[in-house]
Amino acid sequence: MKLEELRGKLIYQALLVGAAALLTSALLSFFSQATEADIKAAEEADLKASLAQVLPGAYENDLLKDTVTLPGKEGEVLVYRGRRKGKVEAVVYQVSGNGYAGSIVCVMGVSREGKILGVRVIKHKETPGLGDKIEPAKGDWIHSFEGRWLGDPVTEKWAVKKDGGVFDQFAGATITPRGVVNAVKGGLAFFEGNKAQLLDEGVQP
């Protein structure tokens, strides 16, 4: 039969689409296998890079593999742990607070002494130009947490200046920093409350 005639046949059309699907899905499957490893690696590298921002320094273990999940105020918290010489030296986890336009999600790294190693905002909907100064790219406000702990400043001073605390607010935007400060403060409280499990040390019976 000639191609012309074939093209009019119902079964030809069905098979044509089928064949196209067959060929392409086969191609894709192979390609997917080829790229799978690279994609995974890229995603891990991504996550690592963001962890590294709040956990400066080198750790002997693979952070992504040493995790623990603990109950927090708003559901489960996934904690990554960094070790040196087998001891947990630092932990990283997510905290969130309420900003001007919804919740602000941050990751924070805390040393075993309870000091903040770094904080980064990973998701927020604050007003560009007002509230977005919490991003390191737009200002270094977020670095003002580094090295602080629940005793520095004292608990009452863990607030923006307008509310009598020590942290700066931005001109025309108080809500956003207030939200971040509260979130970080809550994160430190979480650390204090779950220290034993976090540091993987002698869980007292």
């Binding site: 699907a21 899905s25 336009a101």
Partner: protein
């Protein structure tokens, strides 16, 4: 109930497919010169969009996920959408030649209306259940329809305005869309 209402409002107004998500712009610009065309396109898209969101949810949850072949998602979704659209096109052509006339070349373009695939893909990312997905698709379609009608109304009026030659037609359409998008920013934070 109010949860669904919020979802509808959110998808239709706050995160409007066209003005905020930037999906479906070609028909938005192309079929907005006459009210009938816009209405027809809006309705056709509403149907296809809702259907595609539901169908792709099923594909994802009953085929791709169980088999672990999510990398074929684009392929599977678009195939389904394209077939549906073409089927719809043939049906409309058969049963409503008037509508077919109005939609003209844009009916096949629904396939390539990226709102359809875009919403389906976004919806899968939302990881919501079936009813939510249906609402998500329908809400997005409503949003598309709404801005389509508003925009068409404006463009029809502009057709009688003395727009400077350099701007008449598409350029003023974009400027108008810009101001419409500006207006829709007022819905931010609503839902």
């Amino acid at each position: 109930m109010s949860e669904y209402l919020l979802l509808l409002l959110g998808t239709a107004l706050v995160n409007n497919v066209v003005l905020v998500k930037f999906l479906g712009l070609c028909p938005f610009m192309g079929v907005s010169k006459k009210m009938d065309g816009a209405l027809g396109m809006g309705m056709a898209t509403t149907f296809v969009l809702t259907f595609a969101t539901a169908a792709s949810w099923m594909l994802e949850h009953w085929l791709l996920m169980p088999l672990g072949i999510q990398y074929l998602r684009i392929l599977a979704f678009i195939l389904t959408i394209a077939a549906t659209v073409q089927f719809t096109e043939m049906a409309i052509r058969k049963f409503s030649p008037g509508l077919y006339q109005v939609l003209g070349i844009y009916l096949p373009l629904i396939t390539t209306n990226c709102a359809v695939l875009g919403v389906a893909l976004l919806n899968v990312q939302e990881k919501s259940d079936f009813v939510h997905s249906l609402m998500y698709g329908f809400g997005s379609a409503l949003g598309f329809m709404l801005v389509m009608l508003l925009f068409t109304g404006l463009r029809v009026r502009l057709a009688y305005a003395q727009v400077p030659p350099a701007f008449s037609g598409a350029p003023i359409g974009f400027v108008t869309a810009s101001l419409l998008a500006l207006a829709f920013m007022g819905f931010a934070g609503l839902a």
